[in-house]
């Protein structure tokens, strides 16, 4: 059965989903969708570069809800749920996230979505915050700070323990940490350091459209 005649297509149709990923940096898209029920549609996307290499570690998974619980305020509404988007490091920093975010915002608004709910790896939390996403749990903040403190003591190991302690104790919020301590010149960045770990912690975020 073609998905276009399924009832969940009223939430968002496949061509709109594909169109969001049609950006210059992505050469080819393989989209697979399925209706869970009339109120929920799942989309799995594989993104390929010009050489035919997959650009994400796992397929991109999006779940579209007609009537889900909202995080930004009480009540229910139309929600786009973004599962973990894990772009391989070589594709990062060339505007893919910005282009996708721009397309998603436009497409979702046009289709009547009111909120994006996001599963963010800790290495992406700094970026998602800048794009207006907020944590679902306020505890995410202290956990990421805890990880950053480990990063800082590992990467800035030329400093004495007292110097390290004196710097890290000052920062209680991720947005207050200066860039020089997240993306230091000539040193591994916080994002790359997190990416090098076997365990990738993730937390939930949301943004009202």
């Amino acid at each position: 059965m073609r998905s276009s005649i399924l009832p969940c297509n009223a939430i968002i149709n496949d061509s709109d989903i594909s169109a969001m990923y049609s950006i210059p940096q992505i050469n080819n898209i393989h989209l697979d969708t399925r209706c869970v029920d009339a109120d929920q549609k799942e989309a799995f996307l594989k993104l390929f570069d010009t050489q035919g290499n997959p650009m994400t570690r796992f397929p991109v998974c999006r779940i579209y809800h007609q009537n889900a619980l909202l995080k930004s305020f009480s009540g229910r509404g139309k929600v786009a749920e973004h599962k973990l988007f894990y772009l391989h490091p070589q594709y990062r920093g060339n505007g893919i996230a910005n282009n996708l975010s721009f397309n998603e915002d436009n497409t979702y608004r046009r289709n009547g979505f009111i909120e994006i709910q996001l599963q963010a790896a800790w290495d992406g939390i700094v970026v998602w915050q800048k794009k207006g996403f907020q944590y679902v749990s306020p505890k995410t903040e202290y956990k990421v700070i805890t990880a950053w403190r480990v990063y800082f003591t590992n990467v800035f190991n030329e400093l004495s323990l007292e110097e390290q302690a004196d710097i890290i104790r000052q920062y209680k919020r991720i947005k207050d940490i200066p860039k020089k301590y997240l993306l230091p010149e000539g040193k591994q960045s916080f994002t790359d350091w997190l990416d090098g770990k076997n365990l990738v912690p993730v937390d939930d975020m949301y943004r009202r459209l």
């Binding site: 397929p59 202290y142 104790r169």
Partner: protein
């Protein structure tokens, strides 16, 4: 049983203590300052989540997930039946997630001392007024901080939850400093018998300063509103009571009221005392310490002082008088050093 809970960042020679608490159970715990971090709010939150079993993580184990397959998120939550199981589970959690290493050891704490405040407005069962609560805790904190100064070999002294039936502020310690307790007993007995040991208090013996500071600090209990009885509880058999608070009013006189003769250099003449407008204050350096001389402006001493300050280049004086506090002397005789 009580426990010492520590969190460290890093390992081996590079580990630093970032958080410490004494834990009795999930409702009774005491945060301790650690160097540089103090009581860090980030690790405090982590500690509370561990203690209450509310710590949770969602993560992907990259080693278990095959590329290009749909990803499963592992959800972890401490699910102990009590705080001990929660802490044990956190200690076995991958340090990559937790970000710290935990040390958790049983310790023995003993009741060192307790201060009991008894009065109409001082029954904890009925709640204390903010003013009473503040003064009770300030006075207790002042007294215990003096006792703790002698306590370096005895570990931390902890304030425990206040107890009702009047208001009792107990303090527990890892090990009881019996020397300090002996000084407390001696100080209270001396105050009650109006025989503060001035020679010992102002002497250079190791415990002199503790005695003097503790006696002086006891004056502060007069600030607790509506206090009828103040009691120091060492143990069930040793309870020291002060209920005649007039005895606290002349502590300074008992401690300091000795006649002394000293030499020093005039620094400057200050203003008169607001409380006693006939008394002028002159700041003098004696053995490089700043002291304040009180002189009656109507007497000859004040005129002599002005003359010396104006005419004598060295501005050196010899003075005799009664010591009123650590740095204040009421001048009886005064002369230039060359007179």
């Amino acid at each position: 049983m009580r426990y010492d809970f520590k969190m460290f960042l890093g390992e081996g020679d590079h580990r630093m203590l970032v958080f410490r608490a004494f834990v009795i159970d999930s409702n009774n715990y005491h945060f301790l300052d650690v160097p540089i971090f103090g009581i860090d709010p980030i690790y405090k939150e982590l500690f509370l989540d561990i203690l209450n079993g509310t710590l949770e993580y969602q993560y992907i184990d990259k080693q278990r997930v095959h590329e290009h397959e749909n990803v499963d998120i592992t959800r972890f939550r401490l699910e102990g039946n009590n705080f001990l199981e929660n802490i044990d589970a956190a200690m076995h959690l991958d340090p990559e997630l937790l970000g710290v290493n935990i040390e958790f050891t049983p310790i023995e704490l003993n009741r060192m001392i307790a201060f009991r405040y008894d009065g109409h407005d001082l029954n904890l069962d009925y709640g204390l007024s903010p003013q009473s609560a503040n003064s009770v805790f300030d006075v207790s904190k002042g007294l215990i901080s003096i006792l703790c100064a002698n306590n370096t070999d005895f570990g931390k002294v902890l304030q425990m939850p206040a107890e009702a039936s009047s208001t009792v502020i107990p303090f527990d310690a890892e090990k009881i400093d019996l020397e300090a307790i002996d000084i407390v007993i001696r100080a209270i007995n001396d105050i009650n018998s109006n025989s503060i040991d001035r020679v010992f208090a102002n002497g250079s013996e190791r415990l002199s300063s503790l005695y003097k500071k503790f006696v002086k600090q006891l004056k502060e209990i007069n600030k607790v509103p509506d206090l009828k009885t103040f009691e120091i509880i060492i143990d069930e058999d040793t309870r020291l009571t002060i209920d005649d608070f007039n005895k606290l009013r002349d502590i300074d006189e008992q401690l300091y009221n000795e006649y002394v003769t000293k030499t020093g250099k005039i620094h400057h003449i200050e203003n008169f005392l607001i409380s006693k407008p006939t008394i002028y204050v002159v700041v003098v350096y004696v053995d490089e310490r700043e002291i304040r001389l009180h002189l009656d402006s109507r007497g000859a001493n004040f005129e002599r002082m002005q003359r010396i300050a104006k005419e004598n280049e060295e501005k050196m004086i010899r003075f005799s008088g009664y010591r009123q506090s650590e740095t204040v002397f009421l001048v009886d005789q005064l002369s230039s050093i060359d007179e």
